[in-house]
């Protein structure tokens, strides 16, 4: 089993290496030279030279790449071109914020989807099940941009109960301030996850319930809650995989929600840094997101082995 794990980790590193090359190459392929986005058209030669020296634009591409990679491995991602702060600081702050959003969205989505999914599997024709289906399909179909604006329109503008932007009230950095700001973006970001997970939970639970061992459990005289525990436990490996992937997507892909809610997360950083041609930040941010995604996949694989005894041989 150790060999399997090591092999997976090795593959993960290879994937990440590939990602860095692709990101670097893609950014270089964008229209214009990176340097032209930083140096004003009117700049004096002295200024132009200073900028070239600082960011190493005069070196050949592969040298630039390896310098960057070497530094990156040591945690030095350089300074942001837009505002001179350490890229590492910018990206880790943004990552922290996205983690909060992703966790919020995941927790809401996972809990709700388990409740609705299990209920729907047990009572497919009930009203709650029907409502759950509608919400599920809605979550998948409505673009989260629209959903964000709808939520803001209802809860911020009309009802004035929830804030529409930022992470905290100005001057109030308490947990409850954060929580209130988290509700709407988490709902918007988690809607898709909710839709997908509800359907997965329902089909997984329904399918598991039809398996023979469930009849045995009933024949043993176990109560419904005890039987449900067995059913959930058996559905768990499949759900774990899907849930992990969804969490990975939330970590990397909530750009639209982050923009609308001005939630300063990594999606927003990537988006903005591309527009300001802040390549050091873009490269670092995309690399971090890739690392997270690959890691999550790796962890899921490992957890699957732990969760499903049949895979342990």
């Amino acid at each position: 089993m150790i060999r399997v794990i090591l092999k997976r980790i090795g593959l993960a590193f290879l994937t990440l290496f590939g990602v860095t090359v692709i990101v670097f190459a893609l950014l270089q392929m964008m229209p214009g030279e990176p340097i032209d986005s930083i140096v004003p058209l009117d700049a004096s030669d002295a200024l132009r030279q200073a900028i070239i020296e600082k960011y190493g634009f005069d070196k050949p591409l592969y040298v630039q790449y390896f310098c960057w990679l070497g530094n990156a491995l040591r945690g030095n991602f350089g300074n942001s071109v837009s505002d001179n702060r350490l890229v590492l600081t910018i990206v880790s702050e943004a990552l922290h914020n996205t983690l909060i959003l992703a966790l919020g969205a995941s927790i809401v989505a996972f809990l709700l989807s388990i409740v609705i999914g299990v209920y729907s599997a047990y009572r497919p024709k009930s009203i709650l099940s029907w409502v759950g289906t509608i919400f599920g399909i809605g979550g998948i179909s409505i673009p989260n941009y629209c959903l964000s604006l709808i939520l803001i329109g209802i809860f911020s503008v009309t009802l004035h109960v929830l804030p529409s932007n930022g992470m905290y009230f100005s001057g109030d950095y308490s947990f409850s301030s954060l929580l209130r700001h988290l509700i709407l973006p988490a709902l918007a970001a988690g809607a898709m996850t909710l839709g997908i997970m509800t359907r997965m939970v329902r089909s997984s639970v329904a399918e598991t319930r039809n398996r023979s061992f469930v009849t045995t459990l009933r024949a043993k005289g176990l109560s419904e809650p005890a039987i449900m525990r067995h059913v959930l436990r058996n559905s768990f490996p499949t759900l774990l995989t899907v849930a992990g992937l969804q969490f990975g997507y939330l970590m990397g892909g909530s750009t639209m929600v982050e923009t609308i809610f001005s939630w300063p997360g990594i999606g927003l950083i990537i988006y903005q840094s591309i527009f300001t041609s802040d390549f050091p930040t873009t490269q670092a941010a995309i690399l971090i997101v890739a690392v997270i995604f690959v890691s999550i996949n790796l962890i899921i694989d490992l957890l699957r082995i732990v969760a499903d005894p049949r895979l342990r041989k």
Binding site: L47, S164, T276, S277
Partner: protein
Amino acid sequence: MKKRTRALAFTLTLAMLLVCAFSGCAPQEQASSPTPAPAESSAPASNQPDEGTTGGTLTIAMTCGALPNTDSQPTQGQEGYRFVSFQLYDALVKWDISSETEASTIIPGLATSWEQDPNNPKQWTFHLREGVKFHDGTDFNADCVIFALDRVMNPDFEYYSTSCAASVGNFLANIESYAKVDDYTVTIDTVQDNNAYLIYDLPYVMIPSMQAVMEKGDGFADDPVGSGPFKFVSKIAGQEIVMARNDNYWGNVAKIDTLILKPIADPSARLAALQSGEVDWAEVVPVESVTALESQGYQIKLNDYPHAWLYIMNTESGPFADARVRQAFSMSIDREGLCRDMLLGVGTPLAQLMYPGSPWHADVDEYDYDVEGAKALLAEAGYPDGFTTTFVCPTSGSGNMFPQMMNEYIQKCAAQVGINIKLDMSESERVWDVMKVGFKDEYAEVGALNTSFYTMFPNVFQKFAGTGGSFNTGNYSNPEYDACIEKAYAATDPEESTGYFIQAEEIFAEELPWVIVCNDRNLRVLAPHVKNFVQSQSWYADLTTVTIEK
């Protein structure tokens, strides 16, 4: 036991994740220590006249997606200057933003007066204001000016900042050298002779506290110190910048206690923040919402200012190399219709470079809407059946108003006279790329470039359409036009100089190397309780007069 350890490992991982996320939850605040966060609105429900009410917090929603840098030069372009730099810092001179009806001019800032050396037309002497203190109590004097200039012009200087230099680079092209004469006098030498227009560059060279920069080095931006009407309180990356009134300001002391800036990139979200009461002031809201907002009691602020929405024409090759074709294109555009129906009054028609309030506006007939005239001109130029061309346009970008909608409208207008425009819409960075490369190589087939520009600097005449001008993408070259500009710079009498610029403008309005469509009106919306704001004819905002009635 294995089951238990497994469950434990699970819970531990989840717990660690949660702890990671929520611990450092109170964000990294960069606060300057001596100032406690000021109390929230203290304005009592009183019968005091508006003028006298002090106190309160003003929260502004900006259009930028990231907070401007608080270093001595800002990022995020003009919005950075408007809300951050001009509040935290001063420069030698500044724009007069006190009047709604008069065009904005340059007035003294940290320099009280200046004059040209009669013996050396390149040298300007600035007399500095005495008794000014930075927010940290240190004195302002000539050393600080030299320090600020070294910081952005001298790469060998210990406190040189590449990023600051890059931000302000466009405004340094005129400065050749500078020197201290005595504690309150400095000289600046210009690159060109007689460059009386040096003062149009100087409002953007901000002057930080020399002591603070030396002490904090790279950390200066996290705890900046200037001399402006507001001082820095705190900044949370991506969230807000908080400033407090500078009670010792040498100019008009502000009325409000606290200024909070929030970055909200999405226009609908900005509007929502205003309507939900989270901000008191929103820049550039969606045009469709204006009528509704007005009826709800919000204050819609509009004013003409030097900001033109335009097309840089390919005067080098293709159909637009012929002035008649450019004039025909200009005549095909129904500016009135655009401003009235599409922009709902957020723009005014403009067919020359300078808006009517500008000192260099020329009183001439412009090539405005005339479909038949356009067709006739086209036929005369050899295009009786029109032609096809491609325009490169940005999809967004600060100041570009509503490019998709406006370009499509103009596309329809041009089609009426036979000019078939293919719209090549892409991110605003591409516009800069075209300007850098020119209308050649991959952009050889492009007929025009859509963008928007400030026009409050007379040097734009040379930059936009002068031979060799740095923004002269189409390589337009007209000796007569160049001569006007030279004379304008050479003239020592300001009125004479202005007259020459107006002549240049007349040529511009006739030749149309750039076809201007309309002038932006700087739409912003204020909540009913925000009073006494004067929207001047400029890019900037005087926040010292604003009061909050709550």
